[in-house]
């Protein structure tokens, strides 16, 4: 099993969710985060004084999938979340040692 973490632009959430559903990924966890990459933030003015806005709002999607569909899941996310402009985000893949469904106590690939 692998965990796919994707940091994406907030308005892309629906598109990415639909793309994952199409390849059979049935569950995910979403959190609201803020962050920045290599591109710095921008300057704003509040009541006449300048300040820099570094952190921009993003959405983090976490899904745990079986090894067989990792690659197609990653491509689906990248394709759906891309706009071509800076700030599109990143995808990270990491191994997962165990997964358990709380309701039924199933584990392993059956729990994902």
């Amino acid at each position: 099993m692998k965990k796919i973490e994707a940091i994406i632009k907030p308005f892309k959430l629906e598109e990415v969710k639909d793309a994952l559903a199409e390849i059979g990924v049935e569950g995910m966890t979403v959190t609201e985060v803020k962050g920045f990459g290599r591109q710095k933030g921008h300057t704003e003015i509040y009541r006449g004084s300048e300040y820099t806005v570094d952190f921009l709002p993003k959405i983090k999607i976490e899904v745990v999938v079986t090894d067989s569909i990792v690659d197609s899941a990653v491509s689906a996310v990248v394709k759906a979340a891309k706009t071509g402009k800076i700030g599109d985000g990143k995808v990270f893949v990491s191994p997962v040692s165990e997964a358990i469904r709380i309701r039924t106590a199933e584990s392993g690939d059956k729990a994902v």
């Binding site: 003015i45 009541r47 006449g48 300040y51």
Partner: protein
């Protein structure tokens, strides 16, 4: 002192119950002839009523048998409950018909009883008493309802200030705005009202003035004055502490409510400038102090008949300090207290970098700020028009429209200024702009025409932007909400505006100084309460072609003739009075407040603890978060050096 006695005498036509033998300190002189008929007649009911009751008892039995519907029921003594007050003195205009303003068509004087100026109905007759009672009732209802509107402004201030602060401090900022209502009110009840209005009845007034809310206001007749160079200077009122039984009167209670909500407006202004780092326990001490002393002492000099109001009579400065609804008394006073408090408190942690440059600390809820601003704008319809203390004074229409226009013009002025100077119209500044216009129109609202209101409002919108920059960048004083600029700077502009744009269409005889104009000639007549002055005035405004035909021009500013004045202005003495007013205000209120903050800080520390301020003062000082269901990010706080 003779002057004071004479003034008191002229105003001393008391019609209170015989039981209230606490007559004013100076006995009335022989009243002027024209009013001689109603004045003693007005005395009659209070004597007649207790006497009539037993006398009526006997004939009533016989009358009941003979003619059951012959006499209408006796009005209860108007002074016992205050519920049915009003006699001929409240509607009688001495000796000449009330004047109809040719421009507005409204009668701004009192109606006569007949055209020849003679009373045809007795001043104590039932019809006159009913008319007088109704007129007083209109005024009382108006004053109370507008007072309720101003009370609602407390909610507006709370929303504006909390929205402009960070979420982690929202409960604390809200709580200071909440508790100031009660703390300030109790302070005002204890002694603030007594200091400010205790000597209200002895203030300088126009010839023929009667208290709009009822003769009970004449009970406010005790104060402390000094005599300098032959002139009496009122310094403080001295009656009405704890609204004592000697001032238990419907007129006075109406006045108390109205003036109390004005005091609370002043009191709540510094809570914005001192937000996010003010130790709540010290704020409690402040809350009592502000209701008891600074506003009341300075206010007594302008609205309580004190030396600033008397500066027209005493020193020839126009009509004395003129501040219709309180650009100075309420707003500049609050702004100056805020300045002193913010200086003593110091800036928020992280506000100024090591290089001294101010760093923005954006507010957490802009919609809350704008909602609060609209609530304040709505409440201002009580603030300004209510200050006539008379619904029967139709000038309230002009006051309300002027108020509206100035606020709107100011918001546009601020919007354009922000576009030009910063490139974007910061929403919080737009709100400050609207309020700046409302603050600025507060003093001149009754005296300017609409062009004057729009102009001075627009200028206020520009002033507030540069004032915010100045306070933050030059003075290096941290003001999270712009209170010092909106209320202090624009309040000052409002007071001075009276001396610039007032067009003479209202306020004749204000401050006891009548300015009469005819054929290019000015004549100044001071109301010393004497019969000679009274008669001279009535002759001059009469219709005789040789001795009469003078116009009683109202409060006029330097540019009044450009704004619709029928008489040319150019008399800068009113501006002189306004300038004296703002100087006296700033010097006294700043020093008095600064000393209070410094001394009280030795007893109860003003500043919140450093670690509390960093975490947010809601939990450590108030014991509760404003938004427990939300995860607060505090993403905007700058680094603390």
């Amino acid at each position: 002192m003779a002057l004071l006695a004479a003034t008191a005498g002229a105003l001393g036509w008391m019609v209170l119950g015989a039981s209230s033998a606490q007559a004013q300190d100076k006995p009335p002189e022989a009243p002027p002839p024209a009013a001689a008929a109603p004045a003693p007649a007005a005395e009659a009911p209070k004597d007649a009523t207790p006497a009539a009751a037993p006398a009526a008892a006997a004939p009533a039995d016989a009358a009941a048998a003979a003619a059951p519907a012959a006499t209408p029921p006796q009005q209860p003594d108007s002074t016992a409950t205050g519920a049915n007050g009003g006699t001929g003195i409240d509607i009688q205009w001495p000796s000449y018909p009330a004047k109809t303003d040719p421009k507005t068509g409204f009668t701004t004087g009192e109606p006569t009883i007949d055209d020849a100026g003679k009373t045809t109905a007795g001043a104590n007759s039932e019809i006159v008493k009913a008319i007088a009672h109704n007129k007083i009732s209109i005024n009382v209802v108006w004053t109370l309802v507008t007072g309720f509107l101003v009370m609602f402004m407390q909610a507006g201030f709370a929303l504006v200030e909390t929205g402009l602060c960070r979420a982690k401090n929202a409960a604390h900022v809200m709580s200071t705005n909440f508790m100031i209502y009660g703390l300030g009110m109790i302070g005002f009840w204890v002694c603030g009202f007594a200091f400010m209005f205790g000597n209200y009845a002895n203030g300088p007034v126009n010839i023929g003035w009667q208290p709009t809310l009822g003769q009970g206001l004449m009970l406010l007749n005790k104060g402390y004055s000094i005599t300098v160079g032959g002139h009496t200077l009122g310094l403080l009122g001295m009656k009405g502490f704890f609204l004592s039984p000697e001032v238990f009167d419907t007129a006075i209670f109406t006045l108390f409510l109205f003036e109390m909500v004005f005091m609370d407006t002043t009191a709540t202004i510094p809570t914005g400038a001192m937000a996010e780092r003010w130790n709540f326990k010290h704020f409690i001490v402040y809350g009592f102090w502000v209701g008891m002393f600074p506003y009341a002492i300075y206010g007594s000099w302008v609205w309580g008949g004190g030396w600033l109001a008397q500066s027209g009579m005493n020193w020839g400065l126009g009509h004395g300090a003129v501040d219709f609804a309180g650009s100075g008394v309420v707003h500049m006073c609050g702004g100056v207290i805020a300045l002193a408090g913010s200086i003593c408190l110091g800036p928020r942690l992280g506000k100024f970098g090591k290089d001294g440059k101010p760093r923005p600390m954006p507010g957490h809820d802009i919609p809350m700020v704008m909602l609060g601003t609209f609530i304040l704008a709505f409440g201002w319809f009580g603030f300004n028009p209510g200050s006539t203390l008379a619904g029967a004074d139709n000038r309230i229409a002009i006051i309300a429209v002027n108020t509206m226009l100035a606020g709107a013009a100011a918001s546009i002025g601020t919007m354009l200024t922000m576009y030009l100077v910063t490139g974007k119209p910061d929403p919080s500044m737009l709100c400050n702009g609207l309020l700046a216009g409302l603050v600025a129109i507060t003093a001149p609202c009754a005296f300017v025409n609409s062009a004057g209101a729009v102009l001075l409002g627009f200028i206020a919108g520009i002033i507030v932007v540069f004032s915010v920059f100045f306070v933050e960048r030059v003075l290096k004083v941290d003001d999270p909400v712009g209170a010092i600029s909106v209320h202090g700077a624009c309040g000052c502009w409002g007071v001075l505006s009276v001396g610039l744009f007032a067009n003479g269409s209202y306020g004749g005889g204000w401050g006891g100084v009548h300015k009469l104009f005819k054929d290019g000639q000015w004549m100044r007549l001071v109301n010393d309460g004497s019969k000679a002055v009274f008669d001279q005035y009535n002759t001059m405004i009469g219709t005789d072609p040789k001795t009469g035909g003078w116009t009683d021009v109202g409060v006029t500013g330097i540019f009044g003739s450009m704004f619709g004045s029928t008489a040319p202005s150019g008399d800068g003495s009113q501006f002189g009075a306004q300038f004296l007013d703002v100087c006296a205000l700033f010097i006294f209120v700043f020093i008095f407040s600064y000393i209070f903050f410094k001394l009280s800080n030795l007893v109860v520390p003003m500043r919140s603890k450093r670690e509390d301020e960093i975490m947010g003062i809601d939990i450590p000082e108030m014991g509760a978060e404003a938004y427990p269901d939300f995860q607060l990010t505090d993403r905007t706080s700058p680094k603390i050096d």
